[in-house]
């Protein structure tokens, strides 16, 4: 293995890979599913293979801003043409620059910061906020679980909180109306 920085990066990627991957695939799936139906297996594989965090975030925003956009696939292709090569390029730069940039710069802190932007953009209702709050705190409480299971369990806890919050909101609105 090349360096401590590279190893840390791989570990980080492993840790968040599963959860984010699923959330991402779901987000893009929800945005694309009516359009994806017309595509072959090979074309779908291409869509899945070139999916990165950034295009996921943009697809999500696009779907919320312009529902039923008929050119969504073209939008995705355009995003991918820019994001995927730059993702790769800056990963490589990061692996090498990781040995040069001093640790005191705490550049790795930019990762959770960038996710704050996605998080704020993705919360659009009270149940979603409940899912975020519970998921966030659970991930800290459960951090010591082996195999990074904490993240998975925290996600489930957040999900559950969101479902309960939905029920609560539903009860509240029907109660006020009645």
């Amino acid at each position: 293995m090349r360096s401590a920085a590279a190893r840390a990066a791989t570990k980080k990627a492993c840790r968040r890979g599963a959860g984010v991957g699923a959330a991402q695939a779901d987000g893009v799936h929800r945005a694309l599913s009516p359009k994806v139906r017309q595509f072959s297996t090979g074309q779908r594989m291409l869509i899945a293979a070139f999916l990165v965090d950034n295009s996921f975030a943009f697809m999500q925003k696009r779907e919320l801003d312009r529902p039923n956009d008929p050119h969504l696939i073209a939008y995705y292709a355009g995003l991918t043409a820019v994001f995927w090569p730059s993702w790769l390029l800056f990963c490589v730069i990061g692996i090498f620059a990781g040995n040069i940039v001093p640790a005191s710069w705490q550049l790795e802190f930019a990762i959770p910061l960038s996710f704050i932007a996605i998080l704020v953009g993705s919360v659009r209702s009270v149940p979603m906020a409940a899912a975020a709050v519970v998921g966030g705190f659970a991930s800290v409480l459960l951090f010591s679980l082996p195999l990074k299971l904490g993240l998975v369990v925290a996600c489930l806890a957040g999900l559950l909180a969101g479902v309960f919050a939905e029920k609560g909101v539903h009860w509240w609105t029907s109660h006020k109306a009645g």
């Binding site: 694309l32 975020a132 969101g162």
Partner: protein, 109 residues
């Protein structure tokens, strides 16, 4: 960790993450998802991102960061405000957060 082992990890990650992504796009797109699953997955996005954010801000070396790490908390709060104000602008959020992380201790030194 030798070179072969590294490549096995890399290939495993490549196949694994691809399968997770493809499972939704490739296999589920043809059928309508049950309503409850779709609702639950919609909640999963904020839950997982919040879990990553809080884990990344609060945990340092496997421990909850104590008050000596206050710039982390201050920077995250500043980034949160920037994200709210800019309706989720990633560039602005990161710039404000990193500036706060290094700028606040420098101002108060």
């Amino acid at each position: 960790v030798d070179v072969t082992q590294s490549w096995i990890v890399v290939l495993g990650l490549a196949v694994g993450t691809f399968l997770i992504r493809y499972s939704f796009i490739g296999l589920l797109a043809d059928r309508d998802m049950p309503h409850w699953l779709e609702r639950a997955l919609k909640l999963m996005v904020p839950a997982i991102f919040a879990a990553i954010v809080l884990g990344g801000v609060v945990m340092v070396g496997g421990q909850v960061a104590d008050l000596s790490h206050w710039p982390r908390y201050a920077a995250a709060a500043a980034a949160f405000v920037a994200a709210m104000a800019s309706r989720g602008s990633m560039l602005l959020t990161v710039i404000v957060g990193m500036t706060a992380l290094h700028g606040l201790p420098w101002l108060l030194r």
